[in-house]
């Protein structure tokens, strides 16, 4: 197991020693994430898996700058990201173009007042891009004219998530962080979104950081994977290797708990020591 970032010359996103703790009521601090390091190549795809409380969402939020790390750095294209939003508008926008995010719940991650087209135009205007691009972006994620004038509540879960992806792409980010982005979707829709993300990755060279509790999904869409447990990275490496020959007990436990043909839930229980 290696916790060192593979700091190749080709790395686009380099995360080094990220750490975040929260004060607990009374004394002491909760370590939400500790010494998290990894790197992602341009157009690469990294999965972060773990159960609730593993710290995977905290890491995602530190990547986009919603949570300020206690320690550690996030570097995109060789430029370290400032831990807090810069005061200057241009610096803020430049920082936004480094990393964008798609959230889990498409029902609350879109502004309820704006139609799909307005949502994209707001973002395009903010970044000084041509607002006419909105139509092309919608098309890119498989939304048509009818959806362009619809507000989020008139869209289905899958359509909302497509819009959320289009909104992230409107910024032309180098890295896209997906926090359980397909967890709330029906399986048939989930597969559509995964396929869309794969196409976008190949066409634009955007790197994906795929945060998920679903090992099967992560196996399908990522090259490398990070397994987190209680704030720490217990195992990381190429996805196929980690899932086929897990080195850490916790990874094995997670894998044993995934239902499949001939699976016995009992089998996953005693393993939990």
């Amino acid at each position: 197991m290696s916790t060192e970032p593979r700091n190749g010359p080709d790395a686009l996103l380099v995360v080094d020693g990220l750490r975040k703790t929260y004060p607990l009521p009374g004394r002491g601090r909760l370590t939400a994430a500790d010494d998290v390091s990894f790197s992602v190549a341009p157009g690469g795809s990294l999965g972060i898996v773990g159960e609730s409380g593993s710290g995977k969402t905290t890491v995602a939020r530190m990547l986009v700058g919603l949570v300020r790390p206690d320690a550690g750095t996030v570097t995109v294209d060789g430029r370290p990201r400032s831990p807090r939003p810069p005061r200057r508008r241009q610096a803020r926008l430049a920082r936004a173009r480094e990393v964008q995010m798609v959230f889990q719940d498409p029902y609350i991650s879109l502004d309820p007042r704006l139609t799909a087209a307005q949502c994209l135009r707001t973002t395009l205007r903010l970044h000084g891009r041509d607002e006419a691009t909105a139509v092309r972006l919608l098309e890119r994620v498989g939304l048509g004219e009818r959806e362009a004038d619809a507000r989020p509540r008139q869209l289905s879960g899958g359509q909302r998530q497509r819009l959320a992806i289009a909104r992230a792409l409107a910024v032309q980010p180098r890295v896209l962080v997906l926090d359980e982005a397909v967890a709330a979707l029906d399986v048939s829709i989930q597969a559509q979104i995964l396929q869309l993300l794969d196409t976008i990755r190949r066409d634009t060279g955007v790197a994906l950081v795929f945060v998920s509790h679903d090992l099967a999904v992560v196996q399908h869409v990522t090259d490398d994977v990070l397994v987190m447990h209680r704030g720490s990275v217990v195992e990381q490496g190429p996805t196929q290797r980690v899932l086929a020959e897990p080195a850490h007990d916790y990874t094995r436990l997670l894998l044993a708990a995934v239902p499949r043909e001939g699976w016995d839930p009992e089998g996953a229980v005693p393993a939990r020591a």
């Binding site: 609730s52 359509q159 399986v187 048939s188 995964l194 499949r260 839930p265 089998g267 939990r272």
Partner: protein, 318 residues
Amino acid sequence: MLLTLDHLTVRLPGTARPVLDDVTLRVAAGEVVGLVGESGSGKSTTAKAALGLLPGTATASGTVRVDDADVLALTGEELRRHRARTVAMIHQDPRAALNPVRRIGDFLRERGADRDRAAQLLGAVGLSDPERRLRQRPHELSGGMLQRVVIAGALAARPRLLLADEATSALDVTTQAEILALLRTLRAEQGAGLLFITHDLHLAAAYCDRVYVMYAGRIVEERTAQAFFAAPAHPYTRGLLDCSPTLGDTSRPLLPIPGRPPSLGDAFPGCPFASRCPDAEPACETWRPEAAELPDGGVAACRRAPAAVPTATERNLS
């Protein structure tokens, strides 16, 4: 037969199609029956029908029997007893079933367990220090622990039929495995039937004896768990399996089903899946689905079944 739904059709005002359309389903005592499908397919309504909990504005035809009671005809005290004693429901969100200001002990006593049995049940569902738990309130416990409490509550009444509606979907996989192992033991001990509703095909196939697949309010396929995976007969079932990521199977690309699951506003003159179906023929657009017996005893509601059913080997080759 413990639970029998016969040609149950449920309509709600203001919808283009029935919520449940000619649903026939059986659960025997001691059996685990899976019910899978996507949003709006009618899974939860099926469970509610078994509880006699259809919305007041709904109109229903067909029958729902639990043991020998005609559930849709039950009223007053009988209906209350049916919901409290005969059938127990476990939802996805345990907090919905628990009153936040009442203690865990009160919750179990309401369901007919005295103090000793309540503590014994909490122990049986794997909660440590049951005596202390009885005095705790829901906010003091985690989601997984609360789901155990709800299951203990469901078992307190010694129900004949357990309905689990996405009961483990919100839980971590390791917690899910524990809860499932628990439900299986308790079912074996009490001989109850379990209707297990889930969106997770792999879970349904791994955990259930038989599986029903629902689409647009209809049962499209009913198979034993093995046959469900090895030789799915309905194109929708095949589509679902082909688009579900499977652990360990990395060579196969995910094949999404085009379009979206139908809402209650979509009506269909013929087979509801025809517009998304790769095998559809023009005649499917007008064919009213009816269940066709398969050679292995399963049932599929496809115009082209059983003729179009590929064998397991054909599937693996394709």
